[in-house]
Symmetry: C2
Subunit: 150 residues, 2 copies
Amino acid sequence: MTQQNNDEKDEFDLRNFLPFLLNQAAEESSLEFQRVYKNRYGMLRTEWRVLFHLGNYGELTAKEIGLRAKIHKTKVSRAVRKLEQRRYLKRTRDENDRRVERLTLTTSGQSVYRELRGIARDYDAKLAAHFTTGEAALLRMMLRRLAGME
Amino acid sequence: MTQQNNDEKDEFDLRNFLPFLLNQAAEESSLEFQRVYKNRYGMLRTEWRVLFHLGNYGELTAKEIGLRAKIHKTKVSRAVRKLEQRRYLKRTRDENDRRVERLTLTTSGQSVYRELRGIARDYDAKLAAHFTTGEAALLRMMLRRLAGME
DNA sequence: GGATAATAGTTGATTTTGTAACTAACAAGG
DNA sequence: CCTTGTTAGTTACAAAATCAACTATTATCC
């Protein structure tokens, strides 16, 4: 109503501020998927991400996952431990550089990944259905650019 | 390289999965603004949001802020207390319904809001400069739709 | 070679968040 | 009125995120 402090010719509206909008959209559009990996698979956000990175790209190190997904190394470390405990992934020391651990999904990790990937695919299609095919493609491109994933 | 598990005709790529993309873009595109409100004003994410809601829309209750910004009431409660302690906002009991608190920015809260709003405006322009004017407008529209802010 | 710095990953202490239970005030129906 | 239910907001305790310090290993360079 009162629209206080918008004295300066209404040049700013929170509802158009990209960091805010992006966050609201991200939050809202991950709710439904979150219920699946959380309630049905007992996973945390970082955990499904690590799982998906390994499922999607194959063998990676913790560091590589952190770089690609912009996840801090302590979070990656803890997610990897959880996934290892559930026997979804296994670590192997790199013999050329013994600081490094190469991570890969176990058979059971792969099967969980495939299940979740199917759900993700459907859910993504449902979200994209808000738009025309062209709009959705443009949206993904714009998001990749904003995310610095060019 | 190996692209494991993409056996199923490459119908899925994490880099195109909207919930992931949205989150990456949201994360990346709020880093710079975060440094400002965090390091320079000692605020948390929920705190600048509450501040901006009051600055942008005027007097609101905690509940209204929670609804508009999809922030859980306990988070709003704590952010309000912090902002009150810093004398950025004041609460007044609604005399018609004494459960309700009407929140408004103090003079000093308004001045912090205006400073941050200026920074936000510039930053938003910088982000939008990745795109044409039309693309940026479309992006905002699509994000509002995904966020259920129609 | 040996000191120094850098890197991969982990651990511990502190903050922040999330979940549930709580208080206080109001509403509705008997 | 008075029990029962609902709502606004807070608080307590558990879960998770953050930040700094740590170990172990490799790289640099004098």
